[in-house]
């Protein structure tokens, strides 16, 4: 028979130590649950698809310094030569790289005018090779045709009349039914009309921390500029082999420019989420450290109270407690303390989460995570008290008569 009543009444006479441990458990639970929640949140952010064929994609910057350089013609020559290289699926010039942290965004609106609601979107300037090179999936509408592509000079403020947008952007524009976005005219720079001719499944913006990261648009622009990216997609598994070849070919084909920063998209992703990874490591360390501190706290309190109660434990053995009954006393006692801690911890975890949700715009914590935290702390508690409880069970019954 488990003497819960007796354990509770004895505990209530020694509230302070037990309460401190319960509070420590509560605090650990509060922080643990929310830290895991934030870790998971970051992890799910990191798992979002960029929409690109990341494993087989790389890019480089082409910076022109030559005078009298024919930017338009040389760019076409470059792209043609890259596209013809065996193993290359397709290539294009682009103004920004997804996940890279740097790029363009514009505000779009349903109606022209300077007082209308707008929605922000990342802008990728590409040609008709975009869908193939990026590896994005066209859900509705059509790709740009070669005739749609316009030249854009630095500083130009007019926009082409067609665009392809992501599904997430279409959903934002037409919450009732994203498919209705197809064929609609939206306005860029307050009053320049653009017709949505296609909708692609996924293409992330360059900024992974931006709330609108899933909103992007393709604009049929070729840039007549001194410096731009060439974005290259290879056949599966041939990226690493082609990177130096293409770099060399380009560099040697024209000496009036430099080819720099040949980078895979996988590196870019890694760099993009370096902060996330670091923060997750810190949070994981915090959770582990706190859990250990709590575990040691429980061990400490248990050893202290057992040392203080040596004679009492000997007496319990003398009047008939088995070793297991002595052990069980401390396991149950710890369980009761953990219950108090976990109950306060649940309240604390939810409160902290509500604050986090409000402050950082996160989704609220799930029930499973709270349940996990509770179970984890019960297990930590029982494991922590196991050694002291075993020690208590080994106190000989003769202690009752041998100590004064």
């Amino acid at each position: 028979m488990i003497e819960i009543g007796l354990i509770v009444r004895a505990l209530l006479r020694n509230k302070i130590g037990a309460l401190l441990i319960a509070l420590q458990i509560a605090l650990t639970m509060t922080i643990m649950v929310n830290a895991i929640f934030m870790i998971q949140d970051r992890q799910s952010q990191m798992q979002r698809e960029s929409g690109l064929d990341e494993a087989n994609t790389f890019y480089l910057t082409n910076t022109v310094f030559g005078k009298d350089y024919n930017l338009q013609a040389e760019m076409q020559t470059d792209l043609n030569s890259i596209r013809k290289t065996p193993g290359v699926i397709d290539a294009l010039q682009i103004n920004a790289i997804p996940l890279s942290g740097g790029g363009w965004s514009m505000s779009l609106q349903h109606e022209p005018g300077d007082d209308k609601d707008t929605i922000g979107s990342a802008v990728y300037m590409v040609d008709d090779h975009a869908i193939n090179t990026l590896g994005v999936e066209l859900l509705a509408g059509t790709n740009f045709s070669a005739e749609d592509i316009e030249w854009r000079v630095d500083g130009q403020s007019t926009w082409p009349s067609k665009t392809i947008i992501t599904k997430a952007f279409a959903e934002q524009l037409y919450p009732d039914n994203w498919e209705t976005a197809l064929g609609k005219t939206i306005y860029i720079s307050q009053n320049q009309p653009m017709q949505v001719i296609g909708i692609i499944k996924t293409l992330q913006a360059p900024w992974n921390g931006w709330g609108g990261v899933e909103r992007s648009m393709l604009v049929p622009f070729q840039m007549e500029t001194q410096s731009s990216y060439y974005f290259i997609r290879t056949e599966s598994g041939r990226r690493d082999e082609l990177m130096p070849i293409i770099e060399k070919t380009l560099a040697e084909s024209n000496k009036e420019r430099i080819i720099r920063r040949v980078t895979t998209l996988e590196e870019t992703r890694k760099r993009s989420y370096r902060r996330h990874n670091a923060t997750n490591k810190i949070l994981t360390t915090v959770v582990i450290t706190l859990t250990l501190i709590t575990g040691f706290g429980i061990v400490g309190l248990a050893i202290f109270s057992i040392n203080r109660r040596t004679k009492q434990i000997g007496t319990r053995r003398a009047i008939g407690a088995t070793k297991w009954q002595v052990m069980r006393y401390f396991l149950v006692e710890n369980f009761l303390i953990s219950c108090v801690g976990v109950i306060i911890g649940i309240a604390g975890a939810i409160a902290l989460n509500m604050w986090l949700v409000k402050t950082f715009n996160l989704t609220p914590i799930g029930f499973e995570l709270i349940a996990f935290g509770a179970v984890a702390l019960f297990i930590v508690g029982q494991l922590a008290v196991l050694y002291p409880a075993k020690k208590a069970a080994l106190i000989p019954p003769a202690t009752a008569t041998r100590t004064v």
Binding site: M1, L6, K311, I319, T322, Q325, A398, T401
Partner: protein
């Protein structure tokens, strides 16, 4: 019945061996009240601890209530302590965090009685030692004599065959000691076998039988004492 034949108990502390009991022989019959005296360090507590299954012996034969104690494992000894033996200690050994009711409850919980049976036994035994009205008090709120009465109630609540007491009056003034002794006599008259270690010769002589322990064995004097009391 308690029968000890040639019981030896040796304590090993580093290189030093202490022979606390040397061929200790004793038979205690049902209903006896045995007082145990003897000089300090002679082995009285050692004997009582072995008799009460708190300690194991090095060799010899010991049967308690017909059971060969040497055959019991730790759990078996715990159960036997709980069912057949009641302990009264010099320092009372009550649990300071529990009130009198709960203190008496402790061995009953180990036994696994249901709540109703426990309550009956607790109330009955606190009544028996005259402290039923103070059930909700903590041990620290009682005098030494009263605390020892609670300890006796706790020992009796399991209805043991044997009540073992190691200097139960050692921490009490003489008036309180007399009270406790009278209570023990009543208990013995109601059928419980009692073995009591004491330094107080006057109290020792009130027992049915007095033995003296010297150098870890029962000295011949007990025969004299038995004759004297006869």
């Amino acid at each position: 019945m308690l029968v000890m034949k040639n019981i030896n108990k040796t304590f090993q502390t580093g290189n030093i061996q202490t022979h606390a009991l040397n061929n200790f022989n004793l038979t205690v019959n049902e209903g006896d009240f045995v007082s145990v005296t003897g000089p300090s360090g002679s082995g009285k507590t050692t004997f009582l601890n072995i008799a009460g299954l708190l300690e194991t012996y090095t060799n010899g034969e010991f049967t308690l209530d017909g059971k060969d104690v040497g055959q019991l494992n730790d759990n078996g000894r715990s159960r036997m302590r709980n069912e057949k033996i009641g302990f009264v200690f010099q320092g009372f050994n009550l649990i300071p965090d529990l009130n009198l009711f709960d203190n008496v409850d402790v061995p009953l919980r180990y036994r696994g009685f249901d709540a109703k049976e426990r309550r009956r036994r607790i109330e009955e035994n606190l009544e028996r030692v005259g402290l039923a009205s103070r059930m909700k008090h903590l041990p620290s709120q009682l005098s030494g004599g009263q605390q020892q009465r609670v300890a006796i109630a706790r020992a009796l609540a399991t209805e043991p065959r044997f009540l073992l007491a190691d200097e139960p009056t050692g921490n009490l003034d003489s008036q309180m000691a007399q009270g406790v002794m009278t209570l023990l006599e009543e208990i013995n008259q109601q059928g419980t076998t009692i073995i009591m270690v004491t330094h107080d010769l006057e109290l020792a002589m009130r027992a049915i039988r007095t033995i003296q322990v010297r150098d870890g064995r029962v000295s011949e004097l007990d025969v004299v004492a038995e004759k004297a009391s006869a």
